[in-house]
């Protein structure tokens, strides 16, 4: 019991929390109406019973005294028939009178309303002295309690009048009133439930709407606002919510502006970088390569025309250095900006780059491309994908200690997808080091084009990068 009481608050809150506001309000209204109805019913029943019992007692006294007064002459003149008639009329005219009888002074029954016989024990159930006004007592009968009043007739000289008033009518009246009250309670309950349902609808409609709009705002739709239904607490809540959504919308707008600015800036930087690389590569190709080629040609001529063997050998050595330098310049120019990307497109550039990687890093690299043959991708997408693959394979070569890697580039449904996988040592994507691995740059390039980067990796499990970029003009936003 103690534990039960200790758990009561908890159980109350659990119960109160598990039902909707609709149920709570309905419960409150129904509970109040029932409590009030039952309380009033019990009180009225109690008061009415007491009042009617008292009234019944008074009535029994007045009827008995009336019978006694009217019976006097009839008894003195021995008019037993009239006496009997008097008792019968008394019973007929009073619904509550269950019986009436008259006793002679010697206790003999002169007249009664029972007909063929007389109930045993009734005569002695009540008695009254000659000097008394009356005496009322409750007699327990098989038909329920009966108020029996005895009144001496002519100071007892002509006998005693006895009248019994049954409580049946009182009980019936009380029961009828109780029934009426209960019916009223039920009717009021029905009205109350209806009213409560309307009230609940009034109360919960703004709340439900608020919840719906909050969900929409949560999904990012900052244009939704809640109508303010009433000037109450819920109205205040709606206003606060709207103010909050306004602030969120303003903040989101500012952030979007900032992001756009940054994106423009970053893409400007990247474009400038690409341009610069292109220029340097061309410069290297046009100027340095030409100079080095001239140098090679000059040194060749020198070695053939000069007869001095040491000079010839020295020239041959210098020609070897110049050739190596020319090779380095070519490679540098290719790394900076492969002209094949601009001239022949992404597939040719990737093939060339992958071949270069195979050769240089001694890695087994699979390259697969689908859907890229028909039409060239936009230049910025081609550049981004090329740089992403370039960065990824550099990572694989530098950090992964992998034996094989694969590159898949696929164009489908207005999007282009690139997957770069290796069987290297892998890393924890949640951990640090992404910036070092150049993953930040990959993500930046993908997002500038409205795309996404997904990394799947774990230590010892290899690494997979999934890059998906919408193709401008096909579908999706511009970068």
């Amino acid at each position: 019991m103690k534990a039960l009481i200790a758990r009561l608050p908890q159980r109350f809150w659990a119960l109160a929390g598990s039902v909707s506001i609709r149920t709570k309000i309905l419960g409150i209204v129904l509970g109040l109406v029932l409590l009030l109805g039952l309380g009033v019913t019990v009180q009225v029943r109690y008061t009415l019973t007491r009042a009617m019992d008292a009234q019944l007692q008074e009535q029994s006294v007045s009827v008995a005294r009336d019978v006694a007064a009217r019976a006097t002459d009839l008894i003195l003149t021995n008019d037993l028939y009239a006496l009997h008639q008097l008792l019968r009329e008394t019973q007929a005219n009073n619904e509550s009178v269950r019986y009436a009888f008259v006793l002679a002074p010697d206790g003999q029954i002169l007249a009664h309303t029972f007909g063929a016989g007389f109930p045993a024990g009734l005569r002695d159930a009540n008695a009254v002295g000659p000097a008394e006004h009356h005496r009322t007592t409750m007699v327990n009968t098989d038909e329920g309690p009966v108020w029996d009043t005895a009144v001496p007739i002519f100071d007892g000289r002509a006998g005693i009048a006895r009248v019994g008033l049954s409580e049946t009518v009182v009980r019936q009246t009380v029961d009828a009133v109780t029934g009426q009250l209960l019916i009223t309670t039920v009717a009021v309950s029905v009205v109350g439930i209806t009213a409560a349902a309307c009230l609940t609808w009034l109360l919960t409609r703004p709340i439900l709407q608020l919840a719906e709009v909050a969900q929409a705002v949560g999904r990012g739709d900052l244009s939704r606002r809640v109508p303010r239904w009433a000037d109450d607490e819920i109205g205040d809540l709606a206003s606060s919510f709207n103010a909050m959504t306004d602030a969120l919308a303003t903040a989101a707008e500012a952030r979007a502006e900032r992001d756009q600015l940054r994106a423009r800036y970053v893409s400007g930087v990247i474009a400038a970088q690409e341009d610069e690389r292109k220029r340097i590569a061309r410069e290297l190709h046009d100027s340095a390569s030409q100079s080095l080629t001239s140098l090679l040609v000059g040194l060749k001529a020198m070695s053939t025309t000069c007869d001095a063997p040491d000079v010839r050998q020295h020239a041959e050595e210098l020609r070897g250095v110049a050739a190596q330098t020319l090779d380095d310049v070519h490679r540098l120019a290719l790394q900076l900006r492969p002209s094949v990307l601009d001239d022949l497109g992404l597939p040719a550039a990737l093939e060339r780059y992958v071949a270069e990687c195979r050769r240089r890093y001694r890695l087994h690299i699979d390259l697969a491309m689908r859907g890229l043959e028909a039409e060239r991708l936009p230049a910025q997408v081609e550049t981004a994908l090329y740089r992403i693959v370039q960065e990824s394979l550099t990572n694989v070569a530098r950090h992964a200690a992998a034996r094989t890697a694969s590159v898949l580039v696929e164009r489908r449904n207005g999007r282009v997808r690139a997957i770069i996988e290796d069987d290297g040592r892998g890393f924890d994507p949640a951990g640090a080091g992404q910036e070092r691995l150049g993953l930040y740059g990959i993500r930046e390039r993908a997002e500038l084009l409205g795309g996404t980067l997904t990394i799947e990796s774990a230590p010892g499990q290899g690494t997979s990068l999934f890059i998906e970029v919408p193709i401008a003009g096909d579908r999706g936003p511009h970068a």
Binding site: L8, R11, F12, L15, L38, V42, Q43, R45, Y46, T49, R50, D53, T72, D73, L76, T77, N78, D79, R98, Y99, D106, Q108, I109, F114, G115, A116, G117, F118, P119, A120, G121, L122, A125, T137, M138, V139, N140, T141, D142, E143, P145, V146, F154, R157, A158
Partner: protein, 308 residues
């Protein structure tokens, strides 16, 4: 929570119902079965047969008990025998009881005696003496504020008779009306019987009747006890004297009992207790009386009966 609320409700209801059923203060232990009717046992007959005394309804039954009980108690003590007072609504019923011997002694009205004497030999035993005489009168009374002065003024009014057999209350006023060449049925608007003289006085005093003829002894006695009745009524006519209502026995009463009763009555005034009992009935003493004292009443009865 719900269990607790339910518990509270149950406790509340129980408390209320408990207080309602505890109401009656005196509750009989045993249950009386009202539908189980038993035959009523006949009363055991007493060992000593009581002397049965009838008092004709000159005055109302209650008044009769109050007036005559001391007298009967005295006689009972004197005769050493219980006395049962027998009353009937009408004079004729009392006469029937006397004729059939169901009562031993009777106080009857003058005309009832005349009728009984002639029909079945009712015998005079004694007569009360009041104001030193053994006569009484019929008084014609009207409400105190009534303008009526004689019987003729009561034409078309409501008239209260006492008993159909009464000398002063029926025969005499009928005689007066007949003198006016009418019958009560045509002369009065309406008539009714009160079956006792004091009730007739009350009927007039309360304005229920516009007139009534009553026994002068009863009127004097009633007015003496209740002066308001005298103030509310007015006597407009007094008859010639008639023989006072006597004490009689039936012809079947044994001579010895008759002598004992007569002796007891006649000697009542000799003791203080007897005189007190007489006074309660408004009497002075009992005296012997002769049948001739009732000739005037007999003549009146014949006159009234002769007229159709």
């Amino acid at each position: 929570m719900r269990r607790i609320a339910l518990l509270l409700l149950v406790v509340l209801l129980t408390a209320c119902s408990a207080t309602t059923t505890d109401g009656p203060a005196a509750l009989s232990e045993s249950v009386v079965r009202l539908s189980d009717l038993q035959p009523i046992s006949a009363p055991a007959s007493s060992a000593v047969a009581p002397l049965r005394v009838a008092v004709a309804a000159v005055i109302s039954p209650k008044g009769t008990v109050e007036s005559y009980q001391p007298l009967l108690d005295f006689l009972s003590a004197r005769l050493d025998r219980p006395i049962e007072l027998v009353q009937r609504r009408t004079y004729a019923e009392v006469n029937d009881l006397i004729e059939s011997g169901e009562v031993d002694l009777a106080f009857v009205c003058t005309s009832a005696y005349v009728d009984g004497h002639d029909k079945f030999g009712m015998e005079l035993l004694a007569a009360p003496q009041v104001n030193g005489a053994t006569v009484y009168f019929s008084l014609l009374i009207v409400p105190a504020d009534s303008p009526a002065q004689v019987m003729a003024d009561l034409r078309g009014k409501v008239f209260a008779f006492t008993d159909p057999m009464s000398n002063t209350g029926r025969n005499y006023p009928t005689y007066l009306v007949q003198q006016l060449g009418q019958t009560p049925e045509t002369f009065f608007a309406r008539t009714f019987f009160t079956y006792s003289h004091d009730d007739a006085i009350r009927a007039v005093a309360d304005g229920l009747a516009d007139g009534a003829a009553v026994d002068s002894l009863v009127y004097d006695f009633a007015v003496a006890r209740e002066p308001a009745l005298g103030q509310k009524t007015r006597i407009i006519h007094r008859s010639e004297p008639f023989g006072i209502p006597p004490v009689v026995v039936g012809s079947q009463v044994r001579p010895q009992l008759k002598a004992e009763l007569q002796d007891a009555l006649l000697s009542m005034a000799e003791t203080a207790a007897g005189r007190r009992s007489l006074a309660a009935a408004g009497l002075e003493r009992f005296v012997l009386i002769d049948d001739s004292a009732y000739d005037s009443a007999r003549a009146l009865l014949q006159a009234v009966s002769a007229t159709p």
